[in-house]
């Protein structure tokens, strides 16, 4: 299944904020986690995660620090701020509303039942 660009873009911020809510992390690890969480369905271009992280840093949702883990390379770590936590809660509320609405549509609408036989065929 291919998830469209718009959906990927829309879900990027809450995903990153949510992953950082579990504790500090860095770009590559965040991508790996997105990959695992979505079972490989959400395809991000690796590089494009970074401009997003920088935007979140600029508006103050995350803080960044450079650190060198023992025996490792210098690496930029990102951590959620209080403001970022509030933003995450807000995003969760919004997404919950969207998901609820969609669920309502899936259950009430007859016309988009998956693989329903066309009426004229059913009549034969």
């Amino acid at each position: 299944m291919h998830i469209t660009k718009d959906l990927v873009a829309a879900s990027a911020t809450p995903l990153v904020l949510g992953i950082l809510a579990d504790g500090e992390s860095y770009g590559y690890a965040i991508l790996k986690q997105v990959d695992e969480l979505s079972g490989g369905q959400l395809e991000w271009t690796d590089g494009l995660l970074y401009p997003l992280l920088h935007r979140l840093e600029r508006v103050g949702h995350v803080e960044a620090t450079w650190a060198t883990p023992p025996g490792g390379r210098r690496r930029k770590y990102y951590r959620l701020t209080d403001q970022g936590r509030a933003e995450l809660a807000e995003q969760r509320r919004q997404w919950a509303a969207v998901v609820d609405a969609l669920r309502g549509v899936w259950t009430t609408t007859q016309s988009i039942r998956p693989i329903a036989a066309p009426v004229w065929e059913a009549g034969r």
Partner: protein, 455 residues
Amino acid sequence: MTLASDNELEIQIAEWRAYMRRRRELHQADTEELEDHLRTRITELTEAGLRADEAFLIAVKRMGSLDELSREFAREHSERLWKQLVLPGEPNAAAARSRRELVAMMLCAAVAAIAIKVPSLFGLDLSGDNSGFYARNLSLFALPALAAYFLWQRRAGRRVIGVLTLLFVVGAIGANAYPLAGDSQSVVLTAIHLPLALWLVVGVAYAGGEWRSGRRRMDFIRFSGEWLIYFVLIALGGGALSAITINTFLAIGLDAEGFVQSWLVPCGAMAAVVVSAWLVEAKQSVVENMAPVLTRVFTPLFAAALLAFLVAMIWTNNGVDVERDALILFDLLLVIVLGLLLYAISARDPAARPGLFDRLQLALVVTALIIDVFVLLAITGRITEWGFSPNKTAALGENIILLANLAWSAWLFLRFVRGRIPFARLENWQTRYVIVYAAWAWTVVLAFPPVFGFA
């Protein structure tokens, strides 16, 4: 992994790094961050059994195309290359584009230069009798041409073009439809405020219609500062040219003064409006951004001067002498402080931590605020005596608008210096406030004359 393949991999990564470095929108820290990502990906792939060169290719591919990456970085960090809003293309295409831009710029400059001579055809020549007409309409000659240049360059949509045309027409009507006497205060107010209102209309064209975007607005603020500097430089050159022309012709017994005054200066000034804008856009990489440099130099000096003034005022217990022009003087002071603040903000790396310069900036703003409160107190006590004339109302309104901006800026600045909020909030406040200036300028142009009985 063998030593040889390891070595080869290092060479490939070094080449990749050099390639990234050539992009101005990527800073060293970003390249390092991306390189760390690349190396982690390569390690993982080689551990899964791929050869080093294969792993490198896949890792680079997954990073995404460099153009796309640069574009995203440019969008996020527009302060790094705000002048190149047209994003990366082929070098040849860039050359062709800049040639086309040069032609379009010259066309627009020519239109601006001719426009100011058009009223002469209808008997309104550039002499003392018509100074009122030219004062009111000065901005209507060059700014439409400038807006047209940006609309062309940004390939703006029809709706944007339509709305901007409408705004210019409204401006023209506001400047000319009211029955104002040549020496009335409203003429002066229109002459000051219409250019401001229309300059912000040019801003919409500059942003290619994306005027709601805070980043584009900040880009336009940066542009305005650089434009002013180029314009002043051109004006200095133009002044020298005029003086030399007049005097050399005088030396051979010919009088060139008429030509200089009615052709060279007005047409040159109008064309310079467009040329300066083009220079800012095209030649940005040649010259270091000037406005932030001047800001750095003058912020400490202004802070010291204002502090000295405040101390002297309190020490000697001399109240501010509330003369007619005091309000305007202090309006100018606030404008300068605001300018210093804006250009410090526009050039600042939003992610940097608060430093000494930020504290200095805060001190400057707070000092200016305190001084202005004294002035306002002194003036409100007496404004009832004078009554409200257009001039005083405009000066007072401006003072209050600037005061409100600076007071809230100071509050945000204080919280930023203490590490409570990110710098972006301050930037946001300034870019959002632009709309207030636009509203005020249009109010003065359109509503003041009827409200004050065309005084």
